[in-house]
């Protein structure tokens, strides 16, 4: 198992380097201009100077090389410095965003908690709702509960967030005035009241997201449970005189969780990636919103770094999912 994990991790390195090159070249090809948002009143010569100040004139391979060094060598040093108070990275040039002229990683670090709060909570909530429903649906296949569950999750799956989002805002924020429509990212939770405020502002975005994720997970869980309910070992368990509860909750669920857990793990990068549309709609300025604004502003270092971080997460969680599979299923032994 350990060899397997290490092997996969080592193999991931060339993959990632290749991905970074692919992303970099794609972005280089993109015809946008970081100066596009500067008003027309600023004359072109000035814009040209500003561009040069950003280092845009250099050939791509130099830019790529610089970025590689900054991302893989200097940024880890900065991280180390922050943790242990050392000064390895002092004076070294970090990956700088063109929009804000500040280190990309600082902004990313600032955004991650916001994204995690909303998307993460939605994810956890969705898991907590979806799994029991999926199990019960499978257990009572074709019952009213199952049909209703299927219907609701299909609906959740089919309604895009850019439809539910504004709809919920109009209902709950504008008409009923129960909940805020704009998420306050600087809100601090320090007592019960502020906690309630936080809860209230999280309700709408979490609802939109959780509906979608629940729908998906529920389907997986149901299918996987159904598969296992027909297995011979379930009959064996029943023949032992176990209660239905035990049969389902311990024997069946333990087995059906194996594929579902890996699906859950595979989707974790999406949490970090943020849910772009939901973030935009509710003004949760998280990673997703960061990416889309950076894209529209042609902030290449930011886009490059963000997409690459996603790529790392995706590759990483792919490995984690595979390893988890091995851990959960004793039949699978990687060597």
């Amino acid at each position: 198992m350990l060899t397997y994990t290490i092997r996969r991790l080592v193999l991931a390195i060339p993959t990632l380097i290749f991905i970074s090159l692919a992303i970099f070249l794609l972005l280089q090809l993109a015809p946008g201009d970081p100066m596009a948002q500067v008003p027309l009143t600023v004359p072109p010569e000035v814009k040209q100077q500003m561009r040069e100040a950003l280092g845009l004139g250099q050939p791509w391979y130099i830019q790529y090389y610089k970025w590689l060094i900054q991302f893989f060598w200097i940024e880890p040093q900065v991280m180390f410095d922050n943790m242990f108070g050392t000064t390895f990275a002092e004076g070294k040039l970090r990956v700088i965003s063109w929009q804000t002229r500040s280190p990309v990683m600082d902004i990313v670090a600032q955004r991650i908690p916001q994204t995690l709060w909303v998307v993460g909570v939605a994810y956890v909530l969705a898991i907590l709702i979806a799994l029991p429903i999926g199990i019960y649906s499978a257990y009572r296949q074709y019952s009213t509960f199952d049909n209703a569950g299927t219907f609701v999750s299909m609906i959740g799956f089919s309604i895009p967030p850019f439809f539910t989002g504004p709809l919920l805002i109009v209902i709950f924020a504008v008409q009923l005035e129960w909940l805020p429509s704009v998420y306050n990212t600087v809100h601090e939770v320090n007592d019960w009241d502020s906690f309630m405020v936080q809860l209230r502002q999280m309700v709408l975005p979490v609802m939109v997201l959780a509906l979608q994720i629940t729908a998906q997970l529920n389907r997986y869980m149901r299918a996987s449970t159904l598969d296992n309910l027909n297995q011979d070992y379930v009959r064996t368990a029943r023949a032992k005189g176990l209660k239905e509860r035990t049969v389902v909750l311990s024997h069946v669920v333990r087995n059906s969780m194996i594929p579902v857990v890996t699906v859950i793990a595979l989707n974790v990068p999406n949490i970090f990636g943020g849910a772009i549309i939901t973030e935009v709609i509710f003004k949760v300025n998280g990673i997703g919103q960061l990416l889309i604004t950076a894209l529209f502003a042609n902030d290449l270092p930011m886009v490059m770094t963000l997409t690459f971080i996603f790529a790392i997460l995706i590759v990483l969680f792919n490995i984690i999912a595979d390893v988890l599979y091995g851990v959960l299923d004793p039949r699978i032994r990687y060597d």
Binding site: K47, Q49, I96, D106, V280, I281
Partner: protein
């Protein structure tokens, strides 16, 4: 009393990414910074210059501007302190000049300092700016939100190439304004608190400011006028019926103001045909086959129902205009009237000029060339509505338009390699809006000078987008550059405006205003289109 009114929350649907206007130039950044750092003088809501950190606005009359118009002397008002408690001196002003003119810094506002040969500081309270030639309008440097003063002590290490690395300084500049930054989250939220060292002890009324960025204009308007979550929303580019509906929410109201921003259709004076070899397309080497015919561009203008465009696209934030420079008021020419659509007249004009539909396909021909034009603009809902309407009207006068829209980051991006920039103008007509800063249009009017045309030799840079070229115009503009006295300048300015419109450089459509909204409980808001909207945030207060 300072800080007695609690918190004020402002929403800008474009989030500020930096607090240093010299490194960005984006309106959102300039406006956010204007709460913290200030210029020596700024424009008020009527476009008039008012002293800000100085005792008075220097003029020739009061002796602040030299007779030969080559220098201007600013007298700093006494008692002004930076928010860290140190004194504001002329050295800071001089430093700001040096900071922005450093060739490696990539300063976005460097044009403000065009023609400046030196900035001297005879004493701590005096700043003398010298120009290389007589400058009738010497209020470029240190005037308006785009040219505020930075603290020398804070930015000393951030000159030139180091400018972008000074994250702390760029996010949290020390200023003289009513507020200081407590936290800056790029592209997200800025939180500010009242400046303890602000010169007026009674101001600002608010103790803190929450400045939220992101989302879209619609959500921002809703948050102020419908749900009341925010006190102020900036620049609501929304259709009038949408604004009206939001106003019904009853929590806030929209305010509009008009600067010189004009939505216009630029007419390409040159041939942009893709059949021409690269490098000759859209250059003066090949004049346009028919767009420079007066009958054609006049008919195209007459066919447009401008009041309808205003209604559809801007409502109270738009006015019909036939001028390139509709503001300030003294520069607004009244030569033309274009407020009524006249399809018949337009058709007649074309028929009379002999441009008829010879082959019966509904499209007129000029010397056998069908009047088919490519009509491009940036991607934007209102512009696409305009395109659709105008295409329809032009069809009615026998001109066929093909529509095209380009992503704004490409369209305005100025990448010489891209065929889609508005500067390359690989189309027959294109629509966008432009404006100028401050109240003096001299350099804006200079945009139509012959040698400002983008062409391959200039890497397609240049402001003369239409490639308009008229010697008389160039001469008149040179005259403007030497004329002092606002009356006189306004007269020449109007003449230039009329020449451009009359000769078909563009078809002005809508004089666009700014529409912002504030909560009913927010007092002291004075919408200013000549400077930052937040210019008087120190005066804002809560009313019940």
């Amino acid at each position: 009393e300072r800080g007695s009114d609690g918190n004020v929350s402002i929403i800008y649907w474009q989030a500020p990414s930096i607090m240093n206007p010299f490194l960005s130039g984006g309106t959102k950044d300039v406006e956010a910074a204007s709460m913290v750092i200030e210029p020596l003088a700024r424009y008020n809501e009527t476009g008039e210059l008012v002293p800000w950190l100085v005792e008075e606005v220097p003029t020739v009359e009061n002796g602040g501007v030299s007779e030969d118009l080559t220098s201007i002397t600013w007298k700093i008002a006494p008692g002004i302190k930076w928010s860290d408690g140190t004194d504001f001196t002329s050295a800071d002003v001089k430093f700001t000049y040096e900071y922005c003119t450093d060739p490696e810094g990539g300063c976005a506002q460097v044009t403000k300092f065009e023609g400046v040969t030196s900035v001297e500081t005879p004493d701590d309270m005096t700043v003398v700016v010298t120009f290389d030639k007589p400058t009738p309008f010497p209020y470029g440097p240190f005037v308006g939100g785009e040219s505020p003063i930075l603290q020398a002590a804070q930015f000393a290490d951030c000159m030139g190439a180091k400018a972008p690395e000074c994250t702390e300084q760029n996010f949290n500049p020390i200023g003289t304004g009513p507020f200081v930054v407590t936290e800056f989250r790029p592209n997200d939220v800025i939180t500010l608190k009242a400046n303890d060292n602000y010169r007026d002890p009674a101001k600002p009324a608010f103790a803190t400011v929450t400045f939220k960025g992101g989302g879209d204009a619609n959500a921002a308007g809703r948050a102020v006028m419908e749900t009341g979550e925010f006190d102020y929303a900036w620049n609501l580019q929304l259709a009038p019926d949408v604004i009206a509906k939001m106003e019904e929410g009853g929590k806030g109201k929209p305010v509009a103001g008009f600067g010189p921003l004009v939505e216009r259709i630029m007419l390409n004076q040159t041939n942009a045909s893709p059949d021409l070899p690269e490098g000759e397309r859209s250059t003066r080497a090949h004049p346009h086959p028919f767009l420079s015919e007066p009958a054609v561009y006049k008919a195209m203008s007459m066919a447009i129902d401008r009041p309808l465009l205003v209604e559809v696209g801007y409502g109270q934030a738009g006015k019909v205009t036939c001028n390139w420079v509709p503001a300030p008021a003294i520069f607004n020419s009244d030569t033309f009237d274009c407020s009524t659509q006249d399809i018949e007249g337009a058709n007649k004009l074309l028929d009379d000029a002999g441009f008829t539909d010879t082959d019966g396909d509904g499209v007129r021909e000029v010397n056998g060339v069908p009047m088919k034009i490519l009509y491009q603009t940036s991607t934007n809902a209102v512009r696409q509505d305009f395109q659709a309407l105008i295409k329809d009207w032009w069809r009615q006068i026998g001109i066929e338009a093909e529509l095209r829209n380009v992503d704004s980051s490409v369209f305005f991006g100025g990448d010489p390699g891209s065929p889609d920039t508005f500067q390359k103008f690989y189309a027959d007509v294109e629509m966008y809006a432009n404006t100028f800063n401050g109240t003096d249009p001299q350099s804006y009017l200079g945009n139509l000078l012959c040698d400002k045309a983008p062409r391959p030799e200039t890497q397609w840079q240049g402001e003369n987008i239409t490639r308009f070229c008229d010697e008389a115009y160039d001469a008149l503009h040179a005259q403007l550059a030497e004329t002092a006295g606002s009356e006189e300048r306004a007269k020449i300015g109007k003449q230039l405006n009329d020449m451009a419109v009359e000769q078909g450089a563009m078809i002005p459509l809508v004089h666009r205003g700014r529409l912002s909204a504030h909560a009913n409980t927010l007092g002291g808001v004075v919408l200013n289109v000549w400077d930052s909207e937040l210019w008087n945030v120190a005066d804002w207060h809560r009313i019940d």
